[in-house]
Every structure is written in structure tokens, then in C-alpha cells.
Amino acid sequence: MSAILSVKDLSVTFDVRPQGAWPWTPPLKLHAVSEMSFDLEAGQCLGVVGESGSGKSTLARAIVGTVPTSGGQVNFEGGDLASMGPAERRVHRRDVQMIFQDPLAALNPRMTVGEIIAEPLVTHEPGVSREERKKRVRELMERVGLLPNLINRYPHEFSGGQCQRIGIARALILKPKLLICDEPVSALDVSVQAQVVNLLMELQRDMGLSMIFIAHDLSVVKHISDQIIVMYLGRQMEMATAETLTTVPEHPYTQALISSVPIPDPVLEKARVRPVLEGELPSPLAPPSGCVFRTRCPKAQNSCAGDRPAMQALGNGHFVACPYHQAEEVLAAS
């Protein structure tokens, strides 16, 4: 198995102008994502978790190419997407598609569902005839669980779950190789979440898709992913297979994250001890030196402020960015 997507030292920084600054003062650098490296095997699903503001969405946008990268490589099928010019890049966009968090906001309110789903097709295969296009849209609508006769309806006439299905259909019409899901279910209610996640898993299996699945809900990510990356303030904290990460996490942040997932059993829930994280996420404009998590880490020591901890391999695809890591059995929600 070879990696379909290989990200090396990817960094994204944004220029932020301090308020009331002169035009010539240098802007502040906001480090949204720094030095992320990972490989995604073809046909696998990579989960990305982390709290709000940890740079998950920026990572997704950097891979898709709607946000400019400031360093590193995004190798997709051998070519570095990050260093391509806009025209060359546009050709490659058909193979990498994305699903967004807010299902309704991702659909143009002035276009019918048919036009929305067909847009990637019109863009990348302009030669396809109108009938053929319509046929493919209807097939795909059926495939994602929408009635094909709703093809002429407008987005505001659909529910959130249906809108997300439209988004999925649009992302899949070109049969992409990589699908990036940016919190696709967080805006939906729980019963619909399950349907959409199951639909995504089914589609991944049937179409041989590789996926990056971003969420802040660990239980959803665990359900769908093969590998999981934990992010904190734009940096990788831990990476492991879904099973390992949720049962024997090594990094103190992962442990805190997992123990914050409630267990739907009042007896167990009451009995377990959970390390509670104090404080807020530090500002990405001025991240802490060394390990960015040290300001909230229960195991922080003086040396954590020194060098940034490197990712250590623990074997079996398990990497952790903490020198004081310690396996800890956590009671996770199933």
C-alpha cells in the first residue's frame, strides 16, 4: 500500500494586522497549523480531532487549497499541490473534494439541487451532454438517499440532513480519490448524524475513497477512522490507530480529551476519575515556547518550555509528541 496523500511539515500562517497599526508595521503572524506531517494510505480514513481553534479546518482548507500554505508540502499522487500555480492546481482539484460543516451555507440558495450537484461536472467535464449530466445527477441522488425527483428543488426546501446529502453528492459526482470532511455532522442532530456517518462509510467502501474526517466529537471519529491524529493549537500531539488511541492514549492531552467524552452509563460515569483541563487555548498569535500544551498540561515540567518535543515513534504506527508520555488505560465511551 502506498500513501495517496503525504503531508510534510505543512504550516499555515495568517497575517494579522494589529488594530490601528500603520500600513508599514509588519503584521503579526498567526500560526494556525505548524509542521504537520502525516501519510494517508489509499482507501483509508484518517480522523482529525482537537478542540475548537486547534487548526483542524485550516488543515483541511490547506490540503484542498482554499487557504495558501506558508511552508511544507502536500504530496498528492506524487505532485506537490502546495507549490502548483492556480491553473495547474485547478486540474488536480477534481480528485480532492470537500464536505463542509454547515450544510445549508455550503449550497448556493439561487441554484437548484440539480445545478448544485452538477457544478463540478460542468467545470471539469464540459463535454458531457445535458441528458447525460442529468442522468448522473439523478443516479447519485439516489445513491446518497435523496429522491431523484427533487432535482429541481432549491436548498432552502430541504432539512439539514438532506442538505448534507446534497453536499456529499456534489463532492462525489467526479468520483474523487480523496474526500475531506470538515465536521460534516456537527451541525446535525444525533439520529441524522448516524445516518450521514453510515452513508459516508458505505460510500467509502464502495467507491474506494480515501478520507480525512475532521470532528471534535471523538466517538464519531473513532467509529469511522482507521487512524486518528490529535491536534492542539495547530500542532500534532499524537497519532495512532483508532483502537490504540481511544484505549491506551499516551499523550496527556489525548487522555484529557478522551476522558471528557461522557459515558452513557451513570454508574461508570460517576466512578471514573477525569483529569480536567484548566484554562483556555493559548493565543495562536503568541504560542507558548516548547510544547504548546505545557500551559494546561497536568504533567508539565520545567524542561517542557525548552525545545519543542519531536514526534516519537512507539511502534505500530503510534507517534506521540511528549517526552513524558505514559500509557494510561482510559475508560472511553464505546
Binding site: R61, V64, G65, T66, R89, R90, V91, R93, R94, V96, Q97, M98, F100, Q101, D102, A105, A106, L107, N108, P109, R110, M111, T112, V113, E119, P120, T123, H124, L147, N149, L150, I151, N152, R153, Y154, H156, E157, G167, R170
Partner: protein
């Protein structure tokens, strides 16, 4: 009396298979607009005025530039509006039929308004959308150009243009076209800034849709609501603008005329007892302006139901 079960099934199948026609936001807005009585009445009045301007000439036997020498100087008692002489609106100081002249004046005034609004909609919207979408330096340069153009006193420039190049309808259109799009460009840019951060624009970008296509397919249709409202309100202000120019005696050239020129003429001879020369053009002027305002109001309520 129960329907045959197979019929019921067939009906259900048909209901499932038939394509449902969705109700677009435009269709919703249309329904809301037609529920607004003042707006609908104004629309009818506007349609009648447009018909009057287009076909009014066929209702009278006089041409707009034929001088009736018998009436010259005897205007106050012989040139009054009457059905017997065929001068429905009376005659002007030179003995020309006022009806024919009002027909032509209304036509020119409407044209000026509509051309001004069209230039604003096409040039202003595209200019603003491009500036807003690309942002950064392009936006800065494009909008500073607008600022510079706006800071030029346009009445002065237009008067100079009319004096230097001669008075013609074409010059008038050019002058009005030059200024009308500036405000529209600013409005369109402001709206584009909010729309371009919506996720559906990002999706299109991520899919690889060309930037110009994104602007035309995703941004402009979502701008259009506000643009249409502004355009309908722009038409009357263009008409007023042209009337002002004509009132100063710089607009349309004789024997052509516009409502502004007719009002100016009528106002000049008011004290000689020929009030109809003022009243008839004024009625058409006021009706047109009011109707446009009401239609614009109705459109705003229909297209932007949140703001009511």
C-alpha cells in the same frame, strides 16, 4: 366508492417519479411583490406610461415639431386643451401640439432613466463584484478609482461636455452613464465581501471553478436582489438629474424635448395664463417618479423579507 387499489399505487408511483418543481427564492419574492397593492398599482401605471410614450404618437394628428402659425401669440385663448381642435393637451408658446411633445418628452426621460440604471447595473455590479471578490491590492486600486471619479463635480463636467461637444442625447447618455455606476459599484462590493466568505463560494473555489465563473454564477445572482432594488430607485433620480440639466437649458436639443425641458418651458410662461403647459408634463413627471419609488419599495420588501 373506493378507488381501485392499482390506481392508487399507480398514482403514488407517479407522485414519486414526477419531478417536483421547486419554488426558487425569485418565485417567492414575486408572490410577495404581487401582494403589495401600492407596488402593483404603480407597476400598472408605469406600464401605461411606457405604452403612452411608445404609441401615444398615433393618437394625435399633429407632429411634435409642426408649428401652427395661427396659434402663435394667441396661445392663452386659442391654444387651450380641447378635443375639438385635436390639441388634447393644448399647444406650447410656438404653437406646437403639447400632447405630441409630452409623448416624446416622457419617452426621452424614461430612456435616460433606464439607460442610466442599466449602465449602473451592468458596469457597477460587475466592477464591484470583481473588486470585492479578488480583494487585496486589486480591490484597493479599483475602489480608489471610484473614489477619485466620485470626487469630481459631475454636474460641472457634464455641463462642460455638453458645451464643448454640443448638446445631443448621446452626450447626455454618456454623461449619465459615467456617474450612475459609481454608487452601484460600492454597494455591490460591500455585498460581495459578505457573500464571498460563504461556504458555497469556498466549495466552488475548492472544486476548481474559474474565478470569473464564481463571480457570475455564485456572487452576482446573490447580489441581484439589492442591485435590482437600488436600480429601480436609481431610475427616478436619473430622470430628475436629466430634468435638471434640461431645465438649465443644456439637455436635449430642439425640436426634441424631455419632461424637464417641457416643465421649464411651462414654468416660464406660467404668468401668461397657459397653465396647461406646466401641468401636463408635470403630471407625467410626478406619476413616473412616484411609481418608480413605489415599485422600488415593493421590490425591497419582496426581495429582503428580513428587513420588514
Amino acid at each position: 366508492m373506493y378507488p381501485n387499489p392499482s390506481t392508487v399505487e399507480a398514482l403514488e408511483d407517479a407522485a414519486l417519479l414526477a419531478e417536483v418543481q421547486g419554488r426558487s427564492l425569485w418565485a417567492d419574492a414575486r408572490t410577495r411583490f404581487f401582494r403589495n397593492k401600492a407596488a402593483v398599482v404603480s407597476l400598472v401605471v408605469l406600464a401605461l406610461i411606457a405604452l403612452f410614450a411608445l404609441f401615444g404618437q398615433f393618437l394625435t394628428q399633429y407632429e411634435r415639431d409642426t408649428v401652427d402659425f395661427a396659434l402663435m401669440g394667441a396661445n392663452a385663448h386659442k391654444g387651450a386643451p380641447s378635443f375639438e381642435t385635436g390639441h388634447y393637451f393644448g399647444t406650447d408658446n410656438s404653437g406646437r401640439d403639447l400632447f405630441a411633445r409630452v409623448v416624446q418628452g416622457t419617452g426621452i426621460s424614461l430612456m435616460v432613466g433606464i439607460v442610466g440604471a442599466m449602465v449602473a447595473v451592468i458596469v457597477g455590479t460587475l466592477y464591484g463584484a470583481v473588486a470585492g471578490y479578488f480583494g487585496g491590492r486589486i480591490d484597493n486600486i479599483m475602489m480608489r478609482i471610484v473614489d477619485v471619479l466620485m470626487s469630481i463635480p459631475f454636474m460641472f463636467v457634464l455641463i462642460l461636455m455638453l458645451v464643448i461637444f454640443g448638446r445631443s442625447i448621446f452626450m447626455l447618455f454618456l454623461g449619465i452613464g459615467l456617474i450612475s455606476w459609481l454608487d452601484m459599484a460600492r454597494i455591490a462590493r460591500g455585498q460581495t465581501l459578505t457573500i464571498k466568505n460563504k461556504e458555497f463560494v469556498e466549495v466552488a473555489h475548492a472544486t476548481g471553478v474559474h474565478p470569473m465563473k464564481i463571480i457570475l454564477r455564485h456572487i452576482v445572482p446573490n447580489l441581484l436582489g439589492i442591485v435590482i432594488v437600488y436600480a429601480t430607485l436609481l431610475v427616478p433620480s436619473m430622470i430628475i438629474f436629466e430634468s435638471f440639466i434640461s431645465f438649465l437649458g443644456l439637455g436635449v436639443q430642439e425640436p426634441n424635448t424631455s419632461l424637464g425641458a417641457l416643465i421649464s418651458e411651462g414654468a416660464g410662461s406660467m404668468q401668461y395664463g397657459t397653465l396647461w403647459q406646466l401641468i401636463f408634463p408635470l403630471i407625467f413627471f410626478v406619476l413616473t417618479i412616484f411609481s418608480f419609488f413605489f415599485v422600488g419599495d415593493g421590490l425591497r420588501d419582496a426581495l429582503d423579507p428580513k428587513d420588514r
